[in-house]
């Protein structure tokens, strides 16, 4: 069973706010899923390479050239900002004044 403290720690790492009853709910649910996943410990994985995906390709390159951006797209991107000033994305300050 994972602890309440662990649940809080993971939630903070994941940047997920949780309410107090949710912490207990997640503690229960995550523990039961992790118990199920424990099954994997039975498998002999000595000398087995991990598979991150199934295609035998790596390092797909493209030319490093600047592409002209469609100005209409840029305008739409800016319009989607939750908070902005002029064309700037506005975020909460991260330095103390």
């Amino acid at each position: 069973m994972i602890s309440k403290e662990e649940v809080k720690h993971i939630a903070k790492l994941a940047r997920l706010g949780l309410t107090e009853p949710e912490i207990e709910k997640f503690q229960r649910e995550l523990s039961s899923i992790l118990d199920y996943i424990e099954k994997l410990k039975e498998v002999d994985i000595k000398n087995v390479e991990p598979t991150s995906h199934t295609l035998k390709i790596e390092n797909v390159f493209r030319e490093d050239v600047a592409k002209k951006l469609d100005i209409e797209k840029v305008k739409k991107l800016i319009k989607a900002f939750p908070e902005r000033e002029n064309t700037f994305l506005k975020v909460k300050s991260i330095f103390r004044r």
Binding site: R15, L16, S32, T54, L77
Partner: protein
């Protein structure tokens, strides 16, 4: 026959012979949607104006006597995690409730070039996480064969819309069975495409080593038509590749097909087992050699999947942060965030639903310091063994036959409170995604009014031979 009941092939011939116009065909579907979708709830957004303007263009093409691409004028729908320029794209989530896509996904670009008519965006489990479409932030979709039951998921809206004749075909996406399982629950055809066969550019990412877009159609022939239109290498998705495999005409008498014994597990509905075994017998009667094969690591597939997938989910969904687009608490009237951390925590708390948060938590745990090797890396190694099981089986046989789902479409509400019981619904589909293989779900019969699907699994990039075997099966199963 009503216009809405036509297959792609039939509708194409009708348009070509000018039996009806693209506009008439489109209107027939729009009428059917307004008549029937109140009950089924398969659409999240309808794009009526877009559909009619696309249909008009096709009618113009026809009147000028131009060559008509097979998908031109054919009304379709797509899962709401695939972007269509200037159309809302929610991924079934409140965090994207008002998000408008600024570009077309590559698959949509390709379909638009071929004259497709887009009727709208279909309901789904939030960010494609679920097996019933009940995890949609907006409303559940109902199974057209029994409105008290789920249509499957996560592409439940797409499968229900095809089954109810609300579109001629649809696109869905797969991470662990999300095209095949709803196709099976709704009695239609669904294709999980080989990993790398179809560009994911413009598909909202869930688990990048598993995600693929695939068609949901009324017939196998239609699935081939859509697959041929959307597949191929895309410079905008570096995991897409152009793979040439030999094409040939299948001769049943020369075919070798495996039936993996681990897929007829304890707990499988006996009626499903019976129908699938009858289907296999029908194929055997054509002169196909059937062998029992073993995929010994099958029992670890679900655990592997529920470790690999949430880990990738936790990374992919980090982008929804309340800062760049989508739901943000900075937009509330009362100031609610004291600092930047508050913006992240509260926007994500309020924007994401339960299942999404559960998987982000699980993935974050698996990737966190001290657990990475015990969980994520171990799962990736077991994934190798699962893939090798298939490699070995395919040295002996050309295809594998299994059921798609161990259970019939279940009642709405039956599993939603118990995440693990919902996960178990994926037990026969996830291995295919872990191994990157193509697989086809085809209706093979019914239990009462509830459809049952047969799964045909093929070698990587052998979609064409999957379609051939699928069509042979459709003919003998009529």
């Amino acid at each position: 026959m009503k216009l809405c009941e036509l297959t792609i092939k039939q509708a194409h011939l009708g348009l070509k012979n000018q039996e009806f116009s693209a506009k008439e065909l489109t209107k027939a579907f729009l009428d059917e949607i307004s008549l029937k979708d109140k009950k089924i709830s398969s659409f999240l957004t309808q794009t009526k104006d877009l559909a009619l303007s696309q249909a008009e263009k096709v009618d113009e093409l026809i009147s000028r006597g131009k060559e008509l691409p097979i998908l031109a004028g054919i009304p379709m729908a797509l899962k709401d995690n695939i972007l269509v320029k200037d159309v809302k794209c929610t991924a079934g989530s409140e965090i994207l409730e008002n998000y408008i896509a600024i570009y077309d996904a590559t698959v949509i670009k390709k379909l638009k070039e071929k004259g497709a008519v887009i009727l709208g965006k279909t309901n789904m489990d939030e960010f494609a996480m679920g097996s019933s479409t009940e995890n949609s932030a907006f409303f559940p979709t109902k199974n057209p064969h029994d409105l008290t039951r789920v249509p499957g998921g996560s592409s439940g809206g797409s499968a229900a819309a095809v089954a109810a004749n609300l579109c001629c075909y649809a696109l869905g996406s797969e991470t662990g069975g999300s095209v095949r399982q709803p196709a099976s629950f709704c009695g239609v055809v669904g294709l999980k495409t080989t990993y790398g066969a179809v560009s994911r550019y413009g598909l909202i990412a869930m688990a990048s080593s598993l995600d693929q877009i695939g068609p949901i159609t009324k017939t196998v022939e239609d699935a081939k038509i859509v697959f041929d239109a959307i597949s191929g290498k895309d410079p905008l998705d570096s995991t897409s590749i152009e793979k040439q495999v030999p094409t040939f005409n299948l001769q049943p008498s020369a075919l070798r097909i495996g039936v993996p014994k681990e897929y007829f597990i304890e707990g499988i509905d006996p009626e499903i087992e019976k129908l699938v075994k009858e289907a296999i017998k029908k194929i055997e009667d054509l002169g196909v050699k059937i062998f029992e094969v073993s995929l010994p690591h099958t029992k670890y597939a679900l655990s592997t999947y529920y470790m690999v997938m949430p880990s990738e989910v936790s990374a992919n969904l980090a982008r929804f942060d309340g800062i760049k687009y989508g739901y943000s608490i900075t937009k509330s009237k009362e100031p609610r965030a004291k600092n930047l951390l508050d913006v992240y925590l509260k926007s994500r708390e309020e924007g994401f639903g339960n299942e999404v948060r559960r998987r982000i938590m699980l993935g974050t745990y698996a990737l966190s310091a001290g657990y990475y090797e015990a969980y994520y890396l171990r799962a990736q190694k077991v994934r190798t063994l699962i893939k090798e099981d298939f490699d070995k089986a395919f040295e002996k046989v050309d295809f594998l036959l299994t059921p798609v789902s161990p259970v019939l479409p279940f009642k709405i509400g039956e599993r939603i409170e118990d995440p693990l019981s919902m996960y178990l619904a994926d037990i026969l589909t996830v291995s295919v995604n872990l191994a990157g293989l193509p697989a086809l779900a085809i209706p093979c019969g019914k239990v009462g009014k509830l459809p049952v699907g047969l799964q045909i699994i093929g070698k990587p990039f052998y979609e064409d031979s999957l379609f051939q075997l699928g069509q042979i099966f459709e003919e003998i199963n009529e």
